[in-house]
């Protein structure tokens, strides 16, 4: 297995595959965050919107992102876009639900203080709502990024010709190189750990850390 990793490094394939996988995860995750978080915050803030959207969310949520693979290939063909779309789908609902519950959990006191000091809507969002939900969003993002990393491997086994998922399936198909399969798994695990550590370090930023203390 160690030799397998060595082989891959020598051919420059490992780095290329890692970068390819990270690229897809990054874009899928960021696009999902850019859409799902503002949407979730808005829907969470307006009770009526939530009552309207919730059934829809609950129907889509239990569908595994992998079930979207055929549709992803149909829409985007075999390639990066299909994989990014799958990650987007996998991240969208967890992020949206995180944002919705984060809004619900804002203590009423903060909202009242914001109103008392006469903030405009824009100021209220940027100076009360946003800072109040950030800690929960970070925790939610940490979990979601783990999901993204799960999805990318599966997506790459089917929808593309590069990346760590492709490495694993390709190593098996092209001559049962199980050393490379295990090497791929070890690398996936290691990178998952690093991603998680990176997100965790955000939780330690002073102005975010407040909600993790017991008070």
């Amino acid at each position: 297995m160690v030799r397998g990793i060595g082989d891959l490094l020598q051919h420059g394939l490992l780095l290329k595959y890692v970068v390819a996988s990270l690229f897809r995860v990054t874009w899928g995750f960021l696009l999902a965050a850019a859409v799902a978080i503002p949407l979730g915050l808005t829907i969470g803030w307006y009770r009526r919107a939530e009552m309207a959207f919730n059934p829809l969310v609950q129907i889509f949520r239990p569908i595994s992102p992998l079930a979207w693979i055929p549709i992803a290939i149909l829409w985007f063909g075999v390639g990066d876009l299909a994989a990014i779309f799958l990650i987007f789908v996998g991240c969208f609902f967890p992020l949206m639900l995180t944002a919705m519950s984060a809004v619900h959990n804002i203590p009423a006191v903060y909202v009242n203080v914001g109103r008392n000091f006469g903030l405009s809507t824009a100021d209220f969002v940027s100076r009360v709502l946003y800072p109040a939900v950030v800690p929960q969003l970070i925790t939610g993002s940490r979990i979601t990024l783990g999901i993204a990393w799960l999805v990318v491997v599966a997506a790459e086994m089917i929808a593309v010709n590069s990346g760590l998922g492709f490495l694993i399936i390709d190593a098996r198909n092209a001559g049962n190189r199980y050393d490379l399969v295990v090497a791929g798994m070890v690398i996936i695990g290691t990178i998952g750990l690093l991603l998680d550590l990176g997100m965790r370090s955000l939780e330690r930023v002073k102005s975010f850390r407040w909600s993790y203390s017991e008070d």
């Binding site: 903060y110 203080v113 100076r127 009360v128 950030v134 407040w210 203390s213």
Partner: protein, 261 residues
């Protein structure tokens, strides 16, 4: 304010006026009357304490005054203007969790000061940091402050925007008794130097007698004003003087907690 020099309580009426204020809540299809026919005149610079049995609607009344809640009947007027919502000229200080945990002491005090120039803001912050004795903690986050410090910080943030009325909702209720005594003294000192109108909700009889010009006693729910006591002892009040104790006994009697042996 000409009466200040003579006594501690100023002329009645003028600042805040409540007329026939009533609040009815609807809960599970049932209507619950919380406040009924509250009439009160508060004059500029006066220190009012609201006391009453717990759950009687003291906080509700404060929320109505602060504009957070519309009264079902009647109206609240301040300077002859009907209160239509929260307003930075009147700040409510909450019992707990009122300070923003994501801002430092400085950030919290400066929260309502974004309209000011940087220099003015810094001056104002420095002034109030000193007033509530938080020097040295400017860059500290609330999670590293004690309960008493957090409440002082909340008062400082409120005063920094120069409000004419300060509403305090059991601000020292979550503090230990020693800290509470210290905080009373601090609040009096601040009130005497800044002369804002203060409406202070408390369930602590001693707190009311020590602080207030007038103590408004609310009845059990639906709350009505049962009594208004004038405490005409000059500050600082000697809390073991006969006069103080008489007022205290009087108040306890009116709440129905007199010592009967």
């Amino acid at each position: 304010m000409s009466t200040e020099a003579v006594t501690t309580f100023p002329v009645r009426g003028g600042k805040l006026r409540m007329e026939h204020v009533g609040v009815v809540f609807e809960r599970d299809g049932k209507t619950v009357s919380v406040l009924e026919d509250i009439n009160l005149d508060v004059s500029d610079g006066e220190f009012i304490c609201l006391v009453g049995p717990s759950g009687c609607g003291k906080s509700t009344l404060l929320n109505v005054m602060g504009g957070f809640l519309w009264p079902t009947t009647g109206s609240v007027t301040i300077d002859r203007e009907v209160v239509r919502g929260p307003d930075p000229r009147r700040i409510l200080v909450f019992q707990e969790r009122g300070v923003f945990p994501w801002l430092t002491v400085e950030g919290n005090i400066g929260f309502g000061l974004s309209q000011l120039s940087r220099m003015e803001r810094e001056e104002r912050i420095a002034h109030y940091v000193q007033m509530v004795r938080l020097q040295g903690f400017e860059q500290t986050y609330p999670s590293d402050l004690s309960g008493g410090m957090k409440q002082r910080l909340q008062v400082a943030r409120a005063l920094a925007v120069n409000p004419d009325i300060l509403y305090l909702d059991e601000p020292f209720g979550a503090l230990d008794s020693i800290t509470r005594l210290i905080m009373r003294g601090e609040l009096l000192r601040i009130w005497q130097s800044e002369r804002r109108t203060i409406i202070f909700v408390t369930h602590d009889v001693d707190e009311a007698v020590q602080l207030a010009d007038r103590v408004v006693v609310l009845s059990a729910r639906p709350a009505k004003i049962q009594d208004v006591l004038t405490i005409d002892i000059p500050h600082p009040r000697n809390i073991s003087s006969t006069r103080y104790l008489e007022h205290r006994d009087d108040l306890l009697k009116r709440i129905g907690l007199a010592y009967t042996a």
